[in-house]
Symmetry: C2
Subunit: 399 residues, 2 copies
């Protein structure tokens, strides 16, 4: 038994943010029915990232966020296809879409139209700028939104040129916000019995993700600063340092943490050195302090420093690649990595990720669907006979 | 009526990730009771970001994620304080904590102990590495975790040195994951009647946020690449370009988008130019293409290009600062910016942010609490008389 068992999600989304949202719901046990265009499907199926090339409609990015879902290939533009989708929406609890504004309306599936079909429906819409406001019809991608929201302006050392965050952070967060909004709306419906509209925008979500840089500075009328690799506290010993074989990031904010750090690296002379004795002195002499620390760190490897400094209770992390991080034995005990197969017809092992929190009841029970794999099954569940399904396929309503 | 009306959250969290989590719940109508040490409180109260300096325990970062909560100042180490907290936990639906592993246990408030007090309790624990695995006792900050997980290695142009994401992205996302996990656990409890343990780690959450760089590459056995400011598609016209007065980020991935872009900027000669006629040719000649585009963009301002290119249906965003983004009139219609006061005793206007999705029922109804502002009110609600409260204060159990 999982929290969303019995919840049916009719999923019109494509590419990343939307499918990442419904993947989170799938991990909680929702039945996610992915509506795909016959013969084409979610364009992410063809994206070539990592293992994508050889997968034939099961690209590396696609399988990362579609495990556990069902795929139904229906032609949205065909009258019989539309009629089927209306029946599916009537049977559903949640609809999620990430088309540009106006597209669902044009197909006859606006929020108003869907509410008329199913008054208990939760309708979540993901878009660049949301369903209201002067920019509502503007398209957006993760990287353009990183420019729009100021996110690019925060990266780097003071004075560095603008630089993107190196992964599609806004896409992922926007999808997660939508999944959160849907859970909240389900609870609201439990109380009211009424459907809900959840309007999610990449722009809004980005500012929420950057709350710590947005709100304090907005209220003060100041621009937030570029901090390089230094932590939010601004402490000179909360930064990235070179070691013999790589880098280590330290988190010593307070005086206590600074002293623990110095003792852990057997450099207690740095505690009493007047240049470094107080937080204010360390800020004034941060170049000298970096030189003193890096001279010490040059005597051993990042791995060794990491163990020693963490053992003293001070946060310290060796700089790793994503690949090295994923290989850490620690993860084996976290239930984050889920094992499944490439698809029903391809039994290569693949790894996907859980929700990001550990509980007794989240995970997957099926690989990512092949295009149209569940068309017949889902239609049969709506009461369509085999003859009806064959006829619909014949007239081009189904894939 | 809001989705979490009637849900009581006993909130032991401090600083950012934990309070950001319970702030999301507060926006949904939960009663969040913030447990703070008498005389000290959440250390974020003293953080000096933006307007922080002058606020006396209401620092700029603090007010960004604590509006709508109640503050109860109780001494966790005092026997009568502990007894009060047990009563509060008995009355609650959710407990959230972000101490290091073992601290809640030492105070007598482990998951097992709390479940014995209240079998319906949802207990969410946020930490650097989670409640299991070899690193479970290691401390962490946002920036050290950015080194640990490989996030720093993804930023920048190919070959650039490691660089932090310019804002505490892991803290924020971990808090959001926890809020999502709590909503899921509440729904699970609706089904089972049983309390739930939700174990949230910054490490796990980071990998989920980077799913698009983690899963495809992990399955392929390859390292993800640094992309500079180019989009995830890798298309040369999905990148950042100079204009007369600044930069613009473009999102032209497909052939259709490329042609729409060229027409929008009145450069249709670039469509047929053999160096740029296909996606493959544009990748081979990306330096020449950038030069050709930047020569055109040099003739006008980013604002003008933004309007023109979006009107053609191609994503385009002027590079803005966070401050400029927050000032866009578009936001006025989104319901994201919420107006409140600095505190009950300080009527300066401040702006905070909503959940990041728009619905009919999320927002705040009170400013951030002063330390201990609701101690008497909450204790009275537990049935304590004024005389009892005075006695508890006398013996040092309360602030």
């Amino acid at each position: 038994m999982k929290p969303l068992q019995g919840v049916r999600v009719v999923d019109f989304t494509q590419v990343f943010a939307g499918p990442f949202c419904t993947y989170q719901l799938s991990l909680l046990g929702a039945e996610v029915i992915k509506i795909e265009a016959p013969g084409v499907g979610d364009t992410l199926r063809g994206y070539r990232h990592g293992a994508g090339d050889a997968m034939g409609g099961m690209g590396g990015s696609f399988i990362s966020i579609n495990a556990g879902k069902k795929s139904v290939a229906v032609n949205l533009k065909h009258a019989s296809g539309k009629a089927l989708l209306r029946r599916l929406i009537e049977s559903g609890d949640v609809l999620v879409e990430n088309f540009r504004n106006g597209v669902m309306d044009r197909h006859g599936f606006s929020w108003e139209a869907c509410k008329a079909i199913n008054p208990r429906l939760i309708y979540a819409s993901l878009s660049g700028f949301g369903a209201s406001g002067p920019f509502k019809d503007w398209p957006a991608f993760d990287h353009t939104m990183q420019a729009m929201t100021g996110m690019m302006s925060l990266n780097g050392e003071p004075g560095d040129p603008p630089m993107k965050v190196g992964f599609p952070v806004i896409d992922a967060f926007t999808g997660y916000v939508a999944a959160f909004g849907i859970l909240a709306a389900l609870r609201q419906r439990d109380g009211t019995g009424q459907g809900q509209f959840v309007d999610v925008s990449m722009f809004d979500a980005s500012l929420v993700l950057m709350t710590s840089m947005v709100v304090p500075y907005l209220n003060a009328g100041e621009q937030p600063k570029q901090l390089g690799s230094r932590g939010y506290s601004g402490s000179p010993t909360s930064d990235l340092f070179r070691t013999r074989d790589g880098h280590i990031s330290l988190g010593a904010n307070t005086q206590t943490q600074y002293e623990l750090l110095c003792r852990a690296i057997e450099a207690s002379e740095l505690i009493d050195d007047p240049r470094f004795a107080t937080h204010a002195a360390r800020i004034d002499n941060d170049v000298a302090l970096r030189a003193a620390l890096e001279a010490i760190f040059a005597t051993d490897d990042a791995d060794a420093w990491e163990l020693r400094i963490n053992a003293a209770g001070v946060p310290a992390s060796k700089l790793r690649t994503v690949f090295e991080a994923c290989g850490l034995p620690h993860l084996q005990e976290r239930g984050l990595m889920l094992n499944t197969k490439m698809s029903q017809k391809d039994d290569r092992d693949v790894t996907v990720l859980n929700n990001g929190f550990r509980a007794d009841w989240n995970g997957i029970d099926a690989p990512s669907p092949m295009l149209g794999q569940h068309t017949d099954e889902v239609l049969a569940g709506l009461g369509c006979s085999e003859a009806e399904i064959a006829a619909l396929r014949q007239e081009g309503a189904l894939g």
